[in-house]
Protein backbone atom coordinates (compact mmCIF):
# COMPACT_ATOMS: atom_id res chain seq x y z
CA UNK A 1 0.00 0.00 0.00
CA UNK A 2 1.39 3.37 -0.91
CA UNK A 3 2.75 5.35 2.05
CA UNK A 4 0.14 8.09 1.75
CA UNK A 5 -2.66 5.58 1.44
CA UNK A 6 -1.31 3.80 4.55
CA UNK A 7 -1.45 7.04 6.55
CA UNK A 8 -5.12 7.57 5.79
CA UNK A 9 -6.01 3.89 6.10
CA UNK A 10 -4.84 2.80 9.57
CA UNK A 11 -4.08 -0.85 10.26
CA UNK A 12 -6.13 -2.39 13.09
CA UNK A 13 -4.40 -4.20 15.99
CA UNK A 14 -5.15 -7.62 14.47
CA UNK A 15 -3.00 -6.89 11.40
CA UNK A 16 -0.76 -9.94 11.11
CA UNK A 17 0.97 -9.10 7.80
CA UNK A 18 4.58 -10.33 7.79
CA UNK A 19 5.94 -6.99 6.58
CA UNK A 20 4.67 -3.92 8.40
CA UNK A 21 4.94 -0.31 7.18
CA UNK A 22 6.97 0.71 10.22
CA UNK A 23 10.37 2.37 9.96
CA UNK A 24 11.78 3.57 6.65
CA UNK A 25 12.68 0.06 5.44
CA UNK A 26 9.22 -1.32 6.23
CA UNK A 27 7.57 1.59 4.47
CA UNK A 28 9.70 1.16 1.36
CA UNK A 29 9.09 -2.60 1.27
CA UNK A 30 5.33 -2.24 1.69
CA UNK A 31 5.22 0.53 -0.90
CA UNK A 32 7.32 -1.45 -3.42
CA UNK A 33 5.48 -4.75 -2.97
CA UNK A 34 2.09 -3.04 -3.11
CA UNK A 35 3.05 -1.40 -6.39
CA UNK A 36 4.37 -4.64 -7.89
CA UNK A 37 1.35 -6.79 -7.03
CA UNK A 38 -2.35 -6.50 -7.92
CA UNK A 39 -4.57 -4.28 -5.80
CA UNK A 40 -6.72 -6.00 -3.14
CA UNK A 41 -9.91 -5.40 -5.13
CA UNK A 42 -8.36 -7.39 -8.00
CA UNK A 43 -6.70 -9.91 -5.71
CA UNK A 44 -10.05 -11.07 -4.29
CA UNK A 45 -11.41 -11.57 -7.81
CA UNK A 46 -8.30 -13.51 -8.84
CA UNK A 47 -8.46 -15.62 -5.66
CA UNK A 48 -12.04 -16.55 -6.46
CA UNK A 49 -10.98 -17.59 -9.99
CA UNK A 50 -8.23 -19.69 -8.47
CA UNK A 51 -10.93 -21.78 -6.80
CA UNK A 52 -12.16 -22.74 -10.27
CA UNK A 53 -9.04 -22.98 -12.42
CA UNK A 54 -5.25 -22.95 -12.10
CA UNK A 55 -3.44 -19.63 -12.27
CA UNK A 56 -0.12 -19.09 -14.08
CA UNK A 57 2.97 -19.52 -11.87
CA UNK A 58 3.87 -15.82 -12.07
CA UNK A 59 0.45 -14.81 -10.81
CA UNK A 60 0.68 -17.28 -7.93
CA UNK A 61 4.03 -15.78 -6.96
CA UNK A 62 2.66 -12.25 -7.13
CA UNK A 63 -0.21 -13.26 -4.85
CA UNK A 64 2.26 -14.78 -2.34
CA UNK A 65 4.21 -11.54 -2.40
CA UNK A 66 1.04 -9.54 -1.92
CA UNK A 67 0.13 -11.61 1.16
CA UNK A 68 3.41 -10.61 2.81
CA UNK A 69 2.11 -7.06 3.12
CA UNK A 70 -1.64 -7.80 3.26
CA UNK A 71 -2.98 -10.27 5.82
CA UNK A 72 -6.55 -9.40 4.73
CA UNK A 73 -6.20 -10.89 1.26
CA UNK A 74 -4.51 -13.94 2.74
CA UNK A 75 -7.41 -14.34 5.18
CA UNK A 76 -9.81 -13.92 2.27
CA UNK A 77 -8.15 -16.82 0.46
CA UNK A 78 -8.38 -19.03 3.55
CA UNK A 79 -12.03 -18.07 3.95
CA UNK A 80 -12.82 -19.12 0.37
CA UNK A 81 -11.52 -22.57 1.28
CA UNK A 82 -13.40 -22.45 4.58
CA UNK A 83 -16.65 -21.76 2.71
CA UNK A 84 -15.93 -24.54 0.23
CA UNK A 85 -15.23 -27.05 2.97
CA UNK A 86 -18.35 -26.17 4.95
CA UNK A 87 -20.66 -25.78 1.92
CA UNK A 88 -19.74 -29.33 0.85
CA UNK A 89 -20.84 -30.60 4.22
CA UNK A 90 -24.09 -28.65 4.23
CA UNK A 91 -26.21 -31.53 2.83
CA UNK A 92 -25.29 -33.70 5.85
CA UNK A 93 -26.43 -30.97 8.20
CA UNK A 94 -29.72 -29.94 6.66
CA UNK A 95 -31.60 -30.99 9.80
CA UNK A 96 -29.53 -28.66 11.95
CA UNK A 97 -29.89 -25.84 9.44
CA UNK A 98 -33.64 -25.79 10.09
CA UNK A 99 -36.18 -24.21 7.78
CA UNK A 100 -39.62 -25.23 6.53
CA UNK A 101 -40.62 -28.90 6.48
CA UNK A 102 -43.02 -30.88 4.29
CA UNK A 103 -46.64 -29.90 4.80
CA UNK A 104 -48.98 -32.69 6.00
CA UNK A 105 -50.64 -32.57 2.56
CA UNK A 106 -47.35 -32.96 0.73
CA UNK A 107 -46.36 -35.81 3.02
CA UNK A 108 -49.69 -37.51 2.32
CA UNK A 109 -49.33 -37.08 -1.44
CA UNK A 110 -45.79 -38.41 -1.37
CA UNK A 111 -46.80 -41.55 0.51
CA UNK A 112 -49.68 -42.12 -1.85
CA UNK A 113 -47.49 -41.82 -4.94
CA UNK A 114 -44.85 -44.10 -3.48
CA UNK A 115 -47.34 -46.72 -2.41
CA UNK A 116 -48.94 -46.75 -5.83
CA UNK A 117 -45.63 -47.85 -7.34
Amino acid sequence: MGTNVEDSNPRPPDDTSAIQPTGWLGKILVWTISGATPKCRDVVRILSEQMDHDLPLMMRLRLRLHFSVCCWCERYMKQLHYMRETARRFPEHTDEAGGPVLSPEARFRLKHVLNSQ
Binding site: R41, V101, R109, H112
Partner: protein, 213 residues
Amino acid sequence: MKQLSAELFSSAAVGSPTMVPGHGGAQTNPERWVDEHGDCLFRYALVRVRRREVAEDLVQDTLLAAIRSREKFAGQSSERSWLTGILKHKISDYFRKLGRETSFTDLDSLADEFSEKFVPEGYWVHVKGPKEWKPEPDEVVHRAEFWQTMRHCLDKLPERIANVFMLREMDEVESKEICSMLSISESNLWVMLHRARMALRECLEINWFNREK
Protein backbone atom coordinates in the same frame (compact mmCIF):
# COMPACT_ATOMS: atom_id res chain seq x y z
CA MET B 1 -47.09 -32.01 -6.65
CA LYS B 2 -47.64 -33.49 -10.07
CA GLN B 3 -51.00 -34.67 -11.36
CA LEU B 4 -52.71 -35.46 -8.15
CA SER B 5 -56.27 -34.50 -7.46
CA ALA B 6 -57.91 -33.55 -4.19
CA GLU B 7 -59.90 -36.76 -4.13
CA LEU B 8 -56.82 -38.51 -2.83
CA PHE B 9 -57.22 -36.80 0.47
CA SER B 10 -60.66 -38.21 1.13
CA SER B 11 -59.91 -41.74 0.09
CA ALA B 12 -58.02 -44.45 1.86
CA ALA B 13 -55.33 -43.91 -0.70
CA VAL B 14 -52.36 -44.62 1.48
CA GLY B 15 -51.88 -48.33 1.48
CA SER B 16 -50.26 -50.37 4.15
CA PRO B 17 -46.46 -50.25 4.25
CA THR B 18 -44.75 -52.92 2.28
CA MET B 19 -41.39 -54.06 3.45
CA VAL B 20 -39.05 -54.83 0.64
CA PRO B 21 -35.83 -56.58 1.42
CA GLY B 22 -32.80 -54.76 0.09
CA HIS B 23 -29.20 -55.83 0.01
CA GLY B 24 -27.09 -56.23 3.12
CA GLY B 25 -30.15 -57.19 5.14
CA ALA B 26 -31.48 -53.63 5.01
CA GLN B 27 -35.21 -53.16 4.81
CA THR B 28 -36.43 -50.50 2.43
CA ASN B 29 -39.83 -49.01 2.87
CA PRO B 30 -40.73 -45.92 0.84
CA GLU B 31 -43.31 -44.76 3.36
CA ARG B 32 -40.71 -44.86 6.11
CA TRP B 33 -38.39 -42.87 3.85
CA VAL B 34 -40.95 -40.07 3.84
CA ASP B 35 -41.16 -40.10 7.64
CA GLU B 36 -37.46 -40.40 8.32
CA HIS B 37 -35.88 -38.46 5.46
CA GLY B 38 -38.69 -36.49 3.81
CA ASP B 39 -38.20 -33.27 5.78
CA CYS B 40 -34.44 -33.37 5.42
CA LEU B 41 -34.60 -33.94 1.66
CA PHE B 42 -37.26 -31.26 1.31
CA ARG B 43 -35.24 -28.71 3.28
CA TYR B 44 -32.18 -29.36 1.18
CA ALA B 45 -34.17 -29.13 -2.06
CA LEU B 46 -35.78 -25.91 -0.85
CA VAL B 47 -32.42 -24.29 -0.13
CA ARG B 48 -31.43 -25.18 -3.68
CA VAL B 49 -34.53 -24.25 -5.66
CA ARG B 50 -36.38 -21.87 -3.29
CA ARG B 51 -39.87 -22.92 -4.39
CA ARG B 52 -41.95 -25.30 -2.30
CA GLU B 53 -43.72 -26.93 -5.24
CA VAL B 54 -40.48 -27.55 -7.09
CA ALA B 55 -38.80 -28.86 -3.93
CA GLU B 56 -41.73 -31.23 -3.31
CA ASP B 57 -41.52 -32.50 -6.90
CA LEU B 58 -37.79 -33.08 -6.53
CA VAL B 59 -38.30 -35.07 -3.35
CA GLN B 60 -40.97 -37.13 -5.08
CA ASP B 61 -38.75 -37.77 -8.11
CA THR B 62 -35.91 -38.70 -5.76
CA LEU B 63 -37.94 -41.26 -3.85
CA LEU B 64 -39.39 -42.72 -7.05
CA ALA B 65 -35.88 -43.11 -8.44
CA ALA B 66 -34.84 -44.66 -5.14
CA ILE B 67 -37.62 -47.25 -5.43
CA ARG B 68 -36.40 -48.16 -8.91
CA SER B 69 -32.79 -48.48 -7.84
CA ARG B 70 -33.14 -49.80 -4.29
CA GLU B 71 -31.79 -53.17 -5.29
CA LYS B 72 -28.53 -51.43 -6.09
CA PHE B 73 -28.30 -49.77 -2.69
CA ALA B 74 -25.70 -51.93 -1.00
CA GLY B 75 -25.87 -50.27 2.39
CA GLN B 76 -22.30 -49.02 2.11
CA SER B 77 -23.42 -45.48 2.88
CA SER B 78 -26.29 -44.44 5.11
CA GLU B 79 -29.75 -44.43 3.61
CA ARG B 80 -29.81 -40.64 4.11
CA SER B 81 -26.63 -40.11 2.05
CA TRP B 82 -27.86 -42.44 -0.64
CA LEU B 83 -31.13 -40.53 -0.97
CA THR B 84 -29.34 -37.18 -0.80
CA GLY B 85 -27.05 -38.34 -3.61
CA ILE B 86 -30.06 -39.13 -5.78
CA LEU B 87 -31.61 -35.75 -4.90
CA LYS B 88 -28.41 -33.98 -5.98
CA HIS B 89 -28.69 -35.63 -9.39
CA LYS B 90 -32.32 -34.59 -9.65
CA ILE B 91 -31.36 -31.01 -8.77
CA SER B 92 -28.67 -31.03 -11.49
CA ASP B 93 -31.22 -32.30 -14.00
CA TYR B 94 -33.63 -29.58 -12.93
CA PHE B 95 -31.04 -26.83 -13.47
CA ARG B 96 -29.94 -28.34 -16.77
CA LYS B 97 -33.51 -28.14 -18.01
CA LEU B 98 -33.94 -24.63 -16.60
CA GLY B 99 -30.68 -23.57 -18.28
CA ARG B 100 -32.10 -24.52 -21.65
CA GLU B 101 -35.28 -22.55 -21.04
CA THR B 102 -34.10 -19.39 -19.27
CA SER B 103 -31.06 -17.16 -19.04
CA PHE B 104 -28.87 -17.90 -16.05
CA THR B 105 -26.40 -15.06 -16.48
CA ASP B 106 -26.79 -12.44 -13.76
CA LEU B 107 -24.17 -9.72 -13.88
CA ASP B 108 -26.37 -7.02 -12.35
CA SER B 109 -26.88 -8.34 -8.83
CA LEU B 110 -24.29 -7.25 -6.28
CA ALA B 111 -22.44 -5.37 -9.04
CA ASP B 112 -21.15 -2.69 -6.70
CA GLU B 113 -22.23 -3.99 -3.36
CA PHE B 114 -18.83 -4.12 -1.73
CA SER B 115 -17.25 -0.91 -2.97
CA GLU B 116 -17.30 0.43 0.60
CA LYS B 117 -14.87 -2.31 1.60
CA PHE B 118 -12.10 -0.80 -0.53
CA VAL B 119 -10.42 2.62 -0.68
CA PRO B 120 -10.46 4.31 -4.11
CA GLU B 121 -6.90 3.08 -4.76
CA GLY B 122 -8.18 -0.51 -4.58
CA TYR B 123 -6.85 -1.64 -1.19
CA TRP B 124 -8.98 -2.92 1.68
CA VAL B 125 -10.28 -0.34 4.09
CA HIS B 126 -8.08 -2.01 6.68
CA VAL B 127 -10.50 -1.76 9.59
CA LYS B 128 -13.21 -3.37 7.41
CA GLY B 129 -10.92 -6.06 6.02
CA PRO B 130 -11.53 -9.78 6.65
CA LYS B 131 -11.12 -10.89 10.28
CA GLU B 132 -9.66 -14.19 11.43
CA TRP B 133 -12.28 -16.95 11.32
CA LYS B 134 -12.44 -19.17 14.39
CA PRO B 135 -13.15 -21.95 15.12
CA GLU B 136 -11.89 -24.19 12.32
CA PRO B 137 -14.39 -25.99 10.03
CA ASP B 138 -13.96 -29.33 11.84
CA GLU B 139 -15.27 -27.75 15.00
CA VAL B 140 -17.88 -25.46 13.50
CA VAL B 141 -19.69 -28.31 11.72
CA HIS B 142 -20.91 -29.57 15.09
CA ARG B 143 -22.77 -26.37 15.85
CA ALA B 144 -26.36 -26.21 14.66
CA GLU B 145 -26.32 -22.40 14.79
CA PHE B 146 -23.58 -22.31 12.19
CA TRP B 147 -25.72 -24.27 9.73
CA GLN B 148 -28.70 -22.05 10.46
CA THR B 149 -26.56 -19.02 9.68
CA MET B 150 -25.25 -20.69 6.53
CA ARG B 151 -28.79 -21.36 5.33
CA HIS B 152 -29.85 -17.82 6.17
CA CYS B 153 -26.88 -16.40 4.23
CA LEU B 154 -27.45 -18.69 1.22
CA ASP B 155 -31.13 -17.65 1.19
CA LYS B 156 -30.08 -14.00 1.06
CA LEU B 157 -27.96 -14.41 -2.09
CA PRO B 158 -29.58 -13.37 -5.37
CA GLU B 159 -31.15 -16.51 -6.83
CA ARG B 160 -29.03 -17.16 -9.94
CA ILE B 161 -25.85 -16.34 -8.06
CA ALA B 162 -26.85 -18.76 -5.30
CA ASN B 163 -27.70 -21.44 -7.88
CA VAL B 164 -24.26 -21.41 -9.48
CA PHE B 165 -22.47 -21.14 -6.13
CA MET B 166 -24.21 -24.22 -4.75
CA LEU B 167 -23.66 -26.22 -7.94
CA ARG B 168 -19.97 -25.41 -7.70
CA GLU B 169 -19.38 -25.69 -3.96
CA MET B 170 -22.02 -28.11 -2.67
CA ASP B 171 -22.27 -30.46 -5.63
CA GLU B 172 -18.62 -29.97 -6.63
CA VAL B 173 -19.51 -29.62 -10.30
CA GLU B 174 -16.54 -28.37 -12.37
CA SER B 175 -16.96 -24.85 -13.76
CA LYS B 176 -16.85 -26.00 -17.40
CA GLU B 177 -19.62 -28.45 -16.68
CA ILE B 178 -21.73 -25.73 -15.02
CA CYS B 179 -21.26 -23.51 -18.08
CA SER B 180 -22.49 -26.21 -20.42
CA MET B 181 -25.33 -27.14 -18.06
CA LEU B 182 -26.64 -23.59 -17.81
CA SER B 183 -25.46 -22.23 -21.18
CA ILE B 184 -23.38 -19.42 -19.68
CA SER B 185 -19.87 -18.27 -20.50
CA GLU B 186 -16.98 -19.16 -18.22
CA SER B 187 -16.06 -15.52 -17.59
CA ASN B 188 -19.65 -14.74 -16.58
CA LEU B 189 -19.66 -17.75 -14.29
CA TRP B 190 -16.49 -16.52 -12.60
CA VAL B 191 -18.01 -13.09 -12.02
CA MET B 192 -21.10 -14.66 -10.49
CA LEU B 193 -19.10 -17.03 -8.30
CA HIS B 194 -16.90 -14.16 -7.13
CA ARG B 195 -19.95 -12.13 -6.10
CA ALA B 196 -21.50 -15.14 -4.38
CA ARG B 197 -18.33 -15.78 -2.39
CA MET B 198 -17.89 -12.12 -1.49
CA ALA B 199 -21.49 -11.80 -0.28
CA LEU B 200 -21.57 -15.12 1.55
CA ARG B 201 -18.25 -14.34 3.23
CA GLU B 202 -19.54 -10.99 4.40
CA CYS B 203 -22.79 -12.46 5.70
CA LEU B 204 -21.05 -15.28 7.58
CA GLU B 205 -18.53 -12.89 9.09
CA ILE B 206 -21.21 -10.49 10.34
CA ASN B 207 -23.71 -13.08 11.53
CA TRP B 208 -21.47 -15.84 12.80
CA PHE B 209 -17.77 -15.17 13.20
CA ASN B 210 -17.99 -11.67 14.63
CA ARG B 211 -21.09 -12.51 16.61
CA GLU B 212 -19.12 -15.05 18.67
CA LYS B 213 -16.65 -12.51 19.94
